[in-house]
């Protein structure tokens, strides 16, 4: 083809340099946006580290952060505020990344841990642990979520179980992405029914524990939770970024992607599995925090477009920013009362998401 370029180029059209330059500029803008996002996140984290009922000067916060000093003021910064801030970052990024992957893999803009029944399964798992794994323990003290790890493990097992069921269905019947979402809804409603049954079998105290578990709360953060979440998030983020071009190709259509040498089946299963493990870990540790898995990807898509080279970085970034703002608000606006952040994200996220849907529809209409 190159040999013929010279005589087929159309007169009057500029040579390829401008397109190249324009494209470079376009990429640069995205990179600049991501850098701005990272800076904003750092500033917000810093602000969040200074916000609280104990007044600490910004300079002191900075010093203790940079010196990793855990004494004096550093105690508050490192042992009280940082676990929550890091939890907001990891959870926001994790849910948002997993939402992005699910939406790409299922080619459904509304795919999220909820659409696939994963959250219902996790809530069922948690309630199962609360009702049954504590049954027969005749302690007179009403401790229920005393064993957070048992509850989290049970939630995790059930959410992975629900995803595996969907994957197995996909493998056995080669169902389409659309059917996968429908299967998710079906499995989600089965687990919802199971959750309701658990609530009827529960006594008054267990019932309250189940309800409070389902409210997402970053106050549950401790260093173990954070470490495990990070250990899961990091490789999944890297692997998903490794497949960014495959995701792009799949966005242009299943057959196009196959024609470009993408093993779509394998990428789909890998994407679903890692997105599920990631959100299962997050939901199991911190409960259901609504809308981050939809808001992060959708805002990122509006700003950055559908290019996964940027989306897979931008979406977790935006998710982390949103959750950090929400959690900082949740713990300071009614201080000393703390709201579960899940309530706040639903409250802010619902209307925002409806706005995004309307705006997107207007544009594509």
């Amino acid at each position: 083809m190159r040999d013929r370029d010279s005589d087929t180029s159309q007169p009057g059209n500029p040579s390829f340099a401008p397109v190249h330059v324009l494209y470079r500029g376009y990429l640069q803008k995205k990179v600049q946006f991501l850098i701005a996002g990272v800076l904003l996140l750092i500033l917000l984290a810093l602000f969040s580290a200074t916000a609280g009922s104990i007044p600490i000067a910004v300079s002191d916060v900075l010093i203790s952060l940079l010196t990793f000093d855990h004494s004096g003021v550093g105690r508050i910064v490192w042992d009280v505020r940082m676990p929550r801030i890091l939890a907001a970052l990891l959870v926001g990024a994790g849910l948002s990344l997993s939402g992005t992957m699910m939406q790409s893999v299922l080619r459904n803009p509304l795919a999220s841990p909820y659409t696939l029944g994963l959250s219902s399964a996790a809530a069922f798992g948690a309630s199962f642990a609360i009702v049954f794994l504590d049954a027969g323990v005749g302690t007179t003290s009403t401790i229920l979520i005393n064993d957070t790890f048992t509850v989290a493990a049970s939630a995790f097992i059930f959410s992975i179980l629900s995803t595996l069921t969907i994957l197995l269905l996909t493998l056995l019947t080669r169902i389409t992405a659309e059917s996968m979402v429908l299967a998710g809804i079906a499995i989600g409603s089965i687990f919802s029914a199971g959750l309701t049954l658990m609530q009827y079998l529960a006594n008054s105290i267990q019932l309250a524990s189940i309800v409070s578990w389902t409210f997402g709360d970053l106050g549950r953060a401790n260093w173990q939770f954070l470490l495990i979440t990070f250990i899961v998030l990091l490789p999944i983020a890297l692997v998903s970024f490794f497949y960014r071009w495959d995701f792009n190709a799949m966005d242009t259509g299943e057959e196009t992607a196959k024609g470009l040498g993408v093993r779509t089946g394998a990428v789909r299963i890998l994407g679903m599995l890692s997105a599920s493990v990631l959100s299962a870990i997050v939901v199991s540790f911190f409960g259901t925090i609504a809308f981050i898995g939809l808001l992060g990807p959708h805002i990122a898509r509006r700003i950055l477009g559908g290019d996964h080279r940027f989306l897979l970085v931008g979406s977790p970034l935006i998710g982390a920013i949103i959750l950090l703002i929400a959690d900082t608000a949740a713990r300071t606006i009614l201080s000393p009362m703390v709201l579960p952040v899940g309530i706040l994200t639903s409250l802010m996220g619902g209307p925002l998401f409806i706005y995004l849907l309307i705006a997107t529809r207007g544009r594509r209409g």
Partner: protein, 384 residues
């Protein structure tokens, strides 16, 4: 819900048998009673205003009753009228007695062990069960007037509403509730005895708290509110602090409903209490919250560095254990201001107050209650 509960009731042949037997007996009594009462129909009914402001027409002599929802059965037990109770709820009572240890966290169940043996009637949704049990009166702590009226119309049985959200802050209402219930249940003398006893105790406390020269700054954790609570669930309206003149380091609920709320680790640190009191029902959950942040708490919060952390008697379980809360007032006083409360012992005071609320006949023993509730007033053993 109805299905599950009804099946639970009917599943046990024994329960069914009991119910049939019971219905037969009640039926006969009913015939007998209606034959007898024909001449005096007019006088045998009275109209009273319940705690939700509803007018309820009910028999002058209430011989049988069923108490529904949290806390209502407790009020009946205070008035020593449990022999009129013919059946208990499933959710808050019947189901839990067999399965779970914390049934006993409601002290009235210890005082009135006979309640355990009563048949279970399901919930207010088990309309048919309630109708066939045919009590003279239903007492409910349901807040919704519409639902109360609906229940009364459906059943054809008078439904009297009580207010179990009252605390001993609203003493006038609290006394009035006891007096009205006393008059309905033919226990007016008992109501007077209770009211006088509570008044005396509160006056005694008020006198003592005036002598407190240096009020302590304290924090209340593990505050139950429709479910278990950890260290960070606190309240700004903690009766034992307020009545002893202790300064609660936490403000009242920002929404103004005076209920417990979740605070943050940072707010607990910032408030720097000198003493921490934890509801014994939530001591294990609170302990794990403490262990997670032990270093920070011990370094920055005087109450933890000085190990001034105590458990108190279970304050809420299926409603408020008002008697335990009154004991807690003395306990907090005794711990924080030993010189002012020098002449009392927590054990003695507890037994005295249980005798007041449940009559001297029940004779609850301090050590037994502490053992069965896994609770009591003591310094926590978290620091070993």
């Amino acid at each position: 819900m109805i299905f599950i509960q009804r099946s639970r009731v009917l599943r046990t042949p024994f329960t069914v048998l009991l119910l049939i037997l019971f219905l037969a007996v009640v039926g006969t009594l009913d015939l007998f009673a209606s034959a007898q009462s024909e001449e005096v129909t007019e006088e045998s009914f009275i109209t009273v205003t319940d705690m939700r402001g509803r007018s309820v027409r009910l028999p002058q002599k209430v011989e049988s009753l069923i108490a529904l929802e949290a806390g209502s059965l407790r009020l009946v037990s205070y008035l020593d009228a449990t022999e009129k109770v013919i059946a208990v709820e499933d959710a808050g009572h019947g189901r839990e007695k067999s399965d779970y240890g914390f049934f006993q966290l409601a002290t009235y169940r210890l005082a009135q062990p006979g309640l355990r043996d009563l048949p279970s009637i399901g919930s207010s949704e088990n309309v048919e069960g309630l109708i066939s049990a045919d009590p003279d009166l239903i007492i409910s702590s349901q807040r919704d007037i519409g639902q109360l009226n609906h229940l009364q119309e459906t059943l054809g049985i008078p439904v009297f509403a009580v207010d179990v959200d009252l605390e001993l802050y609203d003493t006038d209402l609290f006394y009035r509730q006891l007096e009205i219930l006393g008059s309905i249940l033919d226990r007016s003398e008992r109501a007077d005895e209770l009211v006088t006893g509570i008044k005396d105790a509160l006056e005694d406390i008020a006198m003592r708290s005036q002598k407190v020269s240096e009020p302590s700054r304290a924090y209340a954790g593990g505050m139950m509110y429709y479910g278990p609570a950890d260290l960070l669930r606190t309240t700004g309206d903690y009766l034992p602090f307020d009545l002893t003149g202790t300064r609660n380091v936490m403000p009242t609920n920002p929404t103004g409903n005076r209920q417990p709320y979740m605070t943050s680790l940072e707010d607990l640190i910032a408030s720097a209490p000198e003493a921490v009191f934890i509801d014994a029902a939530n001591v294990n959950l609170s302990r794990s919250g403490f262990s997670d942040n032990r270093d920070v708490l011990e370094e920055l919060v005087p109450a933890f560095s000085e190990r001034e952390v105590y458990t108190t008697f279970v304050y809420k379980y299926y409603g408020t254990n008002w008697e335990n809360q009154l004991i807690n007032v003395y306990a907090v006083g005794k711990i924080l201001y030993p010189e002012v409360f020098a002449d009392i012992s927590i054990e003695g005071k507890a037994e005295e107050i249980w005798d007041l609320f449940f009559t001297a006949d029940t004779d609850l023993d301090h050590d037994t209650v502490v053992k069965t509730q896994g609770a009591g007033v003591k310094r926590v053993d978290w620091f070993e």
